[in-house]
């Protein structure tokens, strides 16, 4: 193995690692704010990829109907949870977020899809279709369970993952799709040839991380989210509506998932059930990072990406095995170092 191959493998790993890092970040965020281990996040990657591929082909993606269905379900769930409540403002907000917004996005998609409006509009439309599904699912599945133990939330998340995979088959069909790269440009740096898509992925990942950093460090909403993660009761006591914090965390996770899907669909063929394996790598990184540390998760994600590209070069049949067993020594080391895994509340 010469240095050129080494560099190519590293580059591949870094590109994949960037995507895993985004996924890991949003897993850590959702867990911190809501204590939900968001297993179903991978489905958003697949939904994002397939929605974008359909729009790119000038077709109306099936996810539009799923969005509307989830909206109606969330509306009914919201009415049920708020029964006895007579606050007109809350009701209005519920209707706006669960019925009006998805309806408007659907109409927009129906109008724009056949026009093939170009990459940027298609990406934006994809994000607009897929992102809101995540907070809708939070309203349906997790808000009623807000005080349940982590295990119950995990079971709900696994059930949601299974349901979303099935729905993916219904709305997208069993075929795989691929979309053209954002840019065909190729950058040559010494022995490396970096395709445009890799630059897009790296650039957008960095930009998103900087944006997240600013959001959590500077804005009141970001700080309120952090406060909810650090101390839920404390957050409630200063008047932060913690369900809203949960909604925002889920929306961010949905957005990141959908964007990751859009970014990878030019690199690999995506099927309705491809999301899980991709999400699982983000999950592995989040666990290796300790499920509580953002820099830890990012670093671990890049390592997972690199480990994946090297193992697919040396022993591609065992790729998954190698990547996922990497978690065991880390967990072992963690439990030896800490003696207990229940240090954190």
């Amino acid at each position: 193995m010469d240095s050129t191959i080494l560099l190519i493998l590293l580059q591949d790993g870094a590109v994949n690692g960037a995507i895993y890092a985004l996924l890991a970040l949003s897993l850590v965020l959702v867990f911190a704010v809501t204590r939900v281990i968001y297993v179903a996040q991978g489905e958003f990657v697949a939904y994002g990829a397939l929605t974008y591929a359909a729009l790119d082909g000038g077709q109306l993606p099936g996810s539009v109907w799923l969005l509307c269905g989830l909206g109606v379900a969330a509306f009914i769930a919201g009415l049920w949870q708020g029964r006895g409540q007579t606050d007109a403002g809350l009701l209005l907000r519920l209707g706006l977020e669960t019925v009006l917004l998805p309806g408007a996005v659907a109409l927009l998609a129906i109008w724009l899809a056949p026009l093939k409006p170009g990459m940027l509009v298609e990406v934006a439309l994809t994000l607009a279709i897929v992102t809101p599904m995540s907070p809708l699912l939070y309203r349906i599945a997790f808000q009623p369970l807000a005080d349940a133990p982590v295990l119950v939330l995990l079971i709900a998340a696994v059930a949601l993952h299974l349901a979303l995979t099935g729905l993916g088959l219904v709305f997208f069909g069993p075929e795989g799709f691929r979309a053209p790269a954002f840019s065909e440009a190729i950058l040559t740096v010494g022995p490396l040839t970096i395709p445009g898509q890799a630059l897009w992925i790296g650039g957008l990942t960095l930009a998103l991380m900087v944006a997240l950093f600013g959001f959590f460090g500077r804005t009141l909403t970001g700080k309120a989210l952090r406060a909810t993660a650090v101390n839920r009761l404390g957050a409630r006591l200063v008047g932060i509506p913690t369900e809203r914090a949960g909604l925002i965390a889920f929306a961010l996770a949905g957005f990141i998932g959908a964007l990751s899907g859009v970014l990878i669909v030019p690199l690999t063929t995506v099927y309705y059930d491809s999301g899980f394996m991709i999400g699982l790598r983000g999950f592995t990184a989040a666990i290796i990072g300790g499920l509580g540390s953002y820099p830890g998760a990012v670093l671990a994600a890049v390592l997972v990406g690199v480990a994946e590209s090297f193992s697919s070069f040396w022993a591609s049949a065992f790729k998954e095995v190698i990547v996922f067993t990497a978690i065991i020594p880390v967990l072992l080391w963690r439990s030896l170092r800490h003696g207990s895994t229940e240090e954190e509340e």
């Binding site: 009141l220 650090v230 101390n231 404390g234 957050a235 006591l237 200063v238 008047g239 932060i240």
Partner: protein, 240 residues
């Protein structure tokens, strides 16, 4: 009219009664204290009033019935609780903790927030020195100041304090009680829970004694401080 009127409040933890038909009122600008032995249900009372615990009976804040109102809505209405465990944002800075205390007035703009911050810093100069430090690294006394400061940032109409002197050295306890007396001038009503009955009865207008979930004495704090049974049980023989 009372700021807070609790009527026939009952709370049970999984079948075990912790509060049984408690009634209590806090008038505008008043300091009211609730004293009682460990496990009497004092913290339970405040937590139920804040909406953290489900409770039977009625609680009115001003002229609003709080039934079915969430914690955030009660804060929005003007209630603030400094809970027994303080519940600070440990990995965030002192200043961020205080700024989040202003969440109720988030629409009021940066200048209003800075003004509230200055007021809190004037009350607790120590917090200004520590503003960049993480809340989790503060000393016990500083933590208590921060918890009170965070609650005051909301500029509440009713401040509920759960054992503000808990675990603090006598000198700092004195400071905290000075602050409570100073707060009286701002017009905020205070519901104060204390183990330190002597100091509590000194600053309060009105007092209740809570024992195993029931109110056993209620009245003017001066009258209570003179009651032989209260003296024997809560004030001891030697003056502190």
């Amino acid at each position: 009219m009372s700021v807070l009127a609790i009527d026939n409040l009952s709370v049970a933890y999984g079948g075990i009664t912790a509060l049984d038909g408690v009634s209590l009122a806090v008038g505008a600008g008043q300091i009211v204290t609730v004293i009682g032995p460990n496990g009497a249900g004092k913290s339970t009372l405040l937590n139920a009033a804040m909406g953290i615990l489900p409770a039977g009976g009625t609680i009115r804040f001003g002229d609003t019935n709080l039934a079915g109102m969430k914690v955030a809505a009660r804060v929005q209405a003007g209630m603030s609780l400094v809970p027994e465990k303080r519940e600070l944002f440990a990995t965030m800075s002192v200043e961020d903790n205080l700024r989040l205390g202003f969440y109720r007035h988030r629409g009021a703009g940066r200048r209003a927030m800075l003004a509230a911050l200055e007021e809190v810093f004037a009350l607790f100069p120590r917090l200004r020195e520590r503003r960049r430090q993480d809340a989790g690294t503060l000393s016990g006394g500083e933590r208590q100041m921060l918890a009170m400061g965070r609650a005051l940032m909301a500029r509440p109409r009713l401040l509920m304090l759960d054992e503000p002197s808990l675990g603090l050295a006598p000198l700092i306890v004195r400071d905290i009680f000075h602050t409570i007396t100073a707060l009286r001038k701002t017009g905020v009503a205070i519901l104060l829970i204390e183990q330190n009955a002597r100091a509590a009865l000194q600053v309060a207008d009105h007092a209740y004694v809570l024992e195993t979930g029931r109110v056993t004495f209620a009245g003017d704090s001066a009258a209570l401080a003179a009651d032989p049974r209260i003296v024997e049980m809560y004030l001891g023989k030697n003056p502190g």
